[in-house]
Structure formats: structure tokens, C-alpha cells
Subunit: 423 residues, 2 copies
């Protein structure tokens, strides 16, 4: 992570206290809409700098999309309660915005914070992040297709035309309990306790208006979104996200990620968010020959080079033939089928995380990839996923959860998320 | 974390490569039995130092007990398969030891590592930690009471007398699927992927001999084990572990933690490990008044000071009366009931982690504390837990999983874990 592009700031404890106290001198909007604060404290502090990283909640686009991928994820979806109408949704989005503005700065939510205003009332904040820094927290809000159903909230004329539920895909086996939702919040941070604290407190604020539908904890990012980041590995042991769209590729972002709004002001500068919970049959994968693993992915395991040769970032040569006959990068390999060359040039910005959660009664670990992608149109994801119907990797993975959300544009100070919905 | 006590080493990437290549010049056993390696690389490296922290697998005691608590936990228990006898258990412990010696140095397991020896065979290592440093990984092995059952493996005469299943406790509601086990492995690291990689590969090695019974992922340590660490907070929002036994208190460790072996050579220098999965009803807790929360814990929420006054480390004055009548630290408060003064001087070394995993269909987050304690005798835990039957906190927590293991003494190079069992 780097301060050079204006998207990131590290503030010392002393600087942070100044910020909390309202002494926001030296604060300005950077090139990418992020808060830039001069460090006021001791630069030799032993505190790891990523504890003190702050990303602004404000900007043309929401944070948490091109922000360099943080180490931990807590993702939550919510359903509105039966009596929540348009006005209650509006007040919820106002309250969530106010809280998110506090949280990303490492501050507690509410007037009384974590230690309470009166001993006779519950504290506004749950307190478990009281001694933790902002840790690069980003909070990204999304709206599900169901919010715009005719006759539900009176929002049908504010629906972007492409915000319709995803179609069915080959081999998927979706559990409705971990799919869809009226609203979503993606919390990413360098400390899991900071991400969980954010979702927990936003959930409390929603009490009576919306409640959690499903949640997902993730770690070990499975892609990069910035040239400053190295390529991480997924639980198949392979580098993942080598050819992701990066924050520095602004033309590509405009072409593939940021929406023109489809005529909706609240969505101009927004994007579509897709999640897929992809279970990996890791015990079976681990027994596959190295040659088979590499043929399925289309890259070498160690370096991550395409099987047509070179090193990790060498462009794959899909025309090259192998000495054994057929293509060097097999026709049913993952990187060929997912590549823009075989999908009308479609690209998506990926931001997934590994997950591990318990085991079944055969002793197999429940693990996989919580896939997150951002794209200008759901059709980009749909085209690529349809192409992957021929992917040999399907033998070792299963899509078990799915969701689609429209992520509203970013807000300026004084605005609230998706406010154009209500004007 | 500090190198001053000889228990921790940070090695640069260059130093690590030297170590991997077998160039272990400058290696020596520190005061606490940990590996001390002089950093050979560039001290201005941008790599966070905790990625390069190495704790030796060798020493009088196993690592992962007094080692400064790392950020992440993956805990697994295993049951032997039906056909695993004494010899297969012995070979498993040999194989696990050899693998653990590699893993804690950030190295892949097996001869072929993660990238394979032959393309026609599966790689020995699953590969997802290939680019990650050692990250302070510790691997701690334990043996359950069931291993010593008469007529099972012929080990009944090697059983420490106190290694018997825990009794029932008030209010517990234990799920057998997340309790007990023949063997356990505690993997702690500063990166969750490193801890998961360790368990996953040790599980592969056990194939056909033992399989996973249950696993637990944890984050955000809920205690410290060294003066160099600040006190973390649990998911009740309170500081936890203020009065834990610390690595520096060697007399207290000898008195309360390290076993004399109870006549068993493999257990001399070992200790008993207790786990309790403690679910927290966080939504109910969050609606409790601050005054009630503090009275239940016996400390203030912000500072963590005892309700008898002072600051976090001020000794509690249990005799002090409040102006409202009764004791300032209430008779049914957690810190009073858990305190050595009310438990015949019993102390335990705690090493728990927070956990969060999904939600129920009411939208409540499944969260709590995965409690781990180490003690010279299970009776220490039993006495304290019985005292806590009167704890008002029981209204907000539920013990849902439980286990007890005997942790063998540490090993020297060339030895394997629990080898005295077989001689």
C-alpha cells in the first residue's frame, strides 16, 4: 500500500486523537477521493502502520472496491422486517452512513460510544474495537433486486434495468439460506475484529428495521486490486487474480466496473456486486497429480506462469500447441475459459477471500473461496460464468451461495448512501 | 513481542532462505528453548516483522503455551480410525513431528514440497502458504483421555492419573460433535492462512490413521501471555486476561502450569489443556445497561479497572463495600468468583480466542469465546469453573463444547512428540 496515489493515509495514534477531537486540520480530498491526513505523531512508533491506515468513506465511488484488498472480510446481508417501508429504509441508510463515517476512522458509533453516557443505559457501541486502530476499514453498501419489486416500497421506477436476479448456472447447488438479501454490507479491514465490530454495530443500528439474512467471514485475500500488492494464493494452492483489474487502470475501470447509472442518479458511479460462495473439495484436489492440477488451472503451481511459458505476468499464448498434441493451455482449463479473449473482451474486478469453517462428519474441512466481483453489468459475470461450464475445475468446486447487489455511487460529506432514491 | 527474552526471532527473507538451505550458522537455543537466528537480510525490508517471526519447535516445553499469543488460531481434534493401533499412532506422531519442524520455519512439508517432485504425483504440500513467511507459527500437540482406555492401544499404564474426562458443570449444554477427541493440535500464527495450512497438511499426513473430529478458527486473542502484550478485549467489549499468568512469571508457571509428569516421562514438563467453546448471547448483552455489564464483570468497561477503584492493574479490593450496600465488586461478579482468593489460590494460564461463525435463522450472530487454558492439574480448572456456577455472566453465555488433553513435554532435535509412550 502506498500514499503516493492519494488513496491511503496512515495516521499516528496522536494524529488519530486529533482527528477524533475534531481537529481535522490538514485534511483534504485526495485524487481518488480518499482522506489525506498528515501524520502528527512519532514516525518511529512500533505500531504496525496498517493498524493506523484510514480510507475515507467519502468519494465519487464507494471505498472497498478498488481499495487495496485488506486482509480480512466480514460480509453481511440483511432482509427488511415486514413493517419496514420506504421511510424506514431511508432512515436506516442515513443512520448507517453516519455510523460508517465514524467506524472507518476507528471511532466508536453513537453519542455515548463504547463506555456509555449513562450507567443506566446500554452503551451505543459494543466496545470490542475500543483499543484497535482503524485498520484500513472500508464499509461498502449494496441494494438487492428485491427492494425494487413493484408494490413493495414504491421504488420500482428507481430500479436500474439490469438489476434482476442472476440466472441459473451449470453445476451450482445453491442454498437459499446463504444467497440473496435486500441489502448487503461488505466490511474489509486488516484486523478481523474491526470488520466484525463494524457489522455487529451496523446490525444493532438496524434493529427493528432489518435483520441479518446471512454472513460470511473471509481471510487471505484471493486477488489484488493494486500494483502495490503481490498475488495471493487460494486454497487450491495456486496464485489467484494475476490478471485482475487494478486501481491504477482507470480506463479499464470506467469500461468494465463503474456504471453510468442506467438513468438512475443514485447508481451513476456505482457498480454491480456479485458474490458466489464456492466450496472446494480440497481433500480430493490434494490427491490430484501436479500435472492434472496445472492442466486444470492452465498455470504452473509454483510461479503461476501460463502453461504456454514465461513467468507469472507473461500473457498466455492460447494458440500454442503442446508436444503431446492439443493446446499448451488446455481447452477446458480455467484461465482459458475465464479469459477476455474467449468472453467478448469481458473483464470483472475480483475481490474474493478464502474461507474455512468447521468440517463435516467425515472429517472433511469446509473450505473454499468467497468470490466477490464488481462489474458495470451483471452480464459480464454471466458470460464468464457460462463459459466456465466447460471448466474441468467444476469437478473440485461447487457454487453453494450466490447474490447480486447494486452498489450506489459514493457520497460527499453531508450526503447519505443512495439518497437519490428518495428525492 | 521482543527478542530480549530469547523466545522469539525475526529472520529476514534472505535469512530464511539461508536457513532453508541448511545454513544454520548462528543458531542456538535461547533461554526458553527457542531458536535464535541472527537476521542476515536488509533490516529496512518493508515486510512486517511478524511475518518473519520463528518460534522453535524444540524445547523443554512445547511452544504455543507461554509463547506470546499470536493473532490467529486454528484448533483441530482427531479421532484415530478403527484400525489404528499402537504402532500406527507412534508412526503418526513421528510424521507429525517431522512436519511440524518444517512448518514452524515457514517451509513446506514433505520431500516434494508444494510444487511437486514429479508431475505424475500429487505434491506433498498443499501450497497455499508457499509465499507466506513463518508468521510465528506454533504447533502444540495433545493426547485425549480415550487414548489410554484399557484394552484399546495398550497404553493404560502410561496414563497420568489426572487425565480423566472433565465432570459436568452447571449451565453447560455440550454438543458431543464439538467436544473431546483422541488427539488435538493447536496451531497459532499471525496469519490465519498459515495456521490453516498447518492443520490441513497435518490432517493429510494422518490420512488412514486419524481423521478430524472437530475444528475451531479463532482470532483476536482474548489474553496475553507476556508482559510485552497489551490486554485484548473479548466480544463482550471488556478487556480479558488482565491477571493471566505470564511467560515472565517462571515460578508461577512451575507452580500452576508445568506438570512433574505424575510419574510419566512423556508428561514431565507437559501440562493439561482445556478447551471450552463459550457461546455469547451478544444481542442480549448489548442491550444490558452499562452499570449491569460492569457489575457482572466486576470491572469498568473502558479502563478495565476493578470496581473497587484504581486502574487496570490495580489489585481488586474484594472487601470494599459500596455506598449502595454490598461489596463494590459484587459477590456474583465474574472476577471475584474466578479470582485465586476464592479458589484456594488456583491460577490457570489462559490462551483463548474470539470466534464468529455465521448466524441463526433469527439473524443472531454466532459468536463467542473459544476458551483455552493450560494447568498443572485439571482440578484447577474444575475448581474455578465450579465457583463460576454463581457467576451472573451465565445469563449471557453458554458452554457448548469441551475437551481435555494432556500436552506432552517438549522435544529435542531428533526426538518425536510423546516418544516415551512407546519405550
Amino acid at each position: 500500500m502506498s500514499g503516493a496515489d492519494g488513496t491511503v493515509t496512515r495516521i499516528s495514534r496522536r494524529g488519530l486523537i486529533g482527528l477524533i477531537g475534531g481537529t481535522a486540520a490538514g485534511v483534504g480530498l485526495g485524487a481518488a477521493g480518499a482522506l489525506a491526513v498528515e501524520a502528527a505523531g512519532d514516525p518511529s512508533s512500533a505500531v504496525p502502520t496498517d493498524e493506523q491506515t484510514v480510507y475515507s468513506f467519502h468519494g465519487d465511488h464507494q471505498a472497498g472496491i478498488v481499495t487495496p484488498v485488506q486482509r480480512h472480510l466480514y460480509f453481511a446481508t440483511f432482509d427488511l422486517t415486514a413493517r419496514t417501508g420506504r421511510d424506514a429504509l431511508q432512515s436506516l441508510l442515513m443512520d448507517w452512513t453516519a455510523a460508517a463515517e465514524q467506524l472507518v476512522q476507528g471511532r466508536a458509533v453513537g453519542k455515548t460510544g463504547a463506555v456509555g453516557g449513562s450507567p443506566l443505559a446500554p452503551p451505543d457501541d459494543t466496545g470490542e474495537a475500543l483499543d484497535l486502530g482503524p485498520n484500513g476499514l472500508t464499509i461498502t453498501f449494496g441494494l438487492g433486486p428485491a427492494l425494487f419489486e413493484p408494490g413493495r416500497l414504491g421504488l420500482e421506477d428507481r430500479r436500474p434495468a439490469r438489476l434482476t436476479p442472476l440466472p441459473s448456472f451449470a453445476f451450482e447447488l445453491l442454498d437459499p439460506a446463504i444467497s440473496d438479501g435486500d441489502l448487503c454490507i461488505q466490511a474489509c479491514a486488516n484486523d478481523p475484529q474491526v470488520a466484525v465490530h463494524a457489522i455487529r454495530n451496523l446490525t444493532r443500528i438496524a434493529f427493528g428495521r432489518a435483520r441479518i439474512r446471512w454472513t460470511q467471514l473471509g481471510y487471505g485475500r484471493t486477488s489484488s486490486t493494486s500494483r502495490s500488492q503481490t498475488t495471493p494464493r487460494n486454497l487450491l494452492g495456486f496464485k489467484d487474480g494475476t490478471r485482475n483489474i487494478l486501481a491504477e487502470e482507470t480506463d479499464e475501470l470506467d469500461r468494465h466496473v463503474w456504471s453510468d447509472g442506467e438513468g438512475q442518479a443514485w447508481f451513476a458511479g456505482g457498480t454491480y456486486l456479485v458474490t458466489r460462495k464456492i466450496q472446494m473439495l480440497i481433500e480430493s484436489w490434494d490427491r490430484a497429480r501436479l500435472e492434472e492440477q496445472e492442466a486444470i488451472i492452465g498455470r504452473t503451481k509454483g510461479e503461476g506462469a501460463p502453461l504456454s511459458g514465461g513467468s507469472e505476468y507473461t500473457p498466455p499464448d492460447f494458440a500454442m500447441h503442446s508436444t503431446a498434441g492439443g493446446h499448451a493451455i488446455p481447452d477446458d482449463s480455467h484461465i482459458r475459459l475465464a479469459h477476455p479473449d474467449f468472453n467478448n473482451g469481458q473483464r470483472i474486478l475480483r475481490r474474493g477471500y478464502n474461507y474455512v469453517e468447521g468440517n463435516n462428519n467425515l472429517g472433511q474441512i469446509s473450505a473454499g473461496l468467497f468470490f466477490i466481483s464488481f462489474q458495470r453489468s451483471p452480464q459480464q459475470f454471466i458470460d464468464i460464468q457460462n463459459s466456465l461450464a466447460k471448466d474441468r475445475l467444476n469437478e473440485y468446486i461447487r457454487h453453494i451461495g450466490s447474490s447480486l447487489f447494486a452498489v450506489p455511487r459514493g457520497v460527499r460529506p453531508g450526503e447519505y448512501i443512495a439518497q437519490d432514491l428518495f428525492t
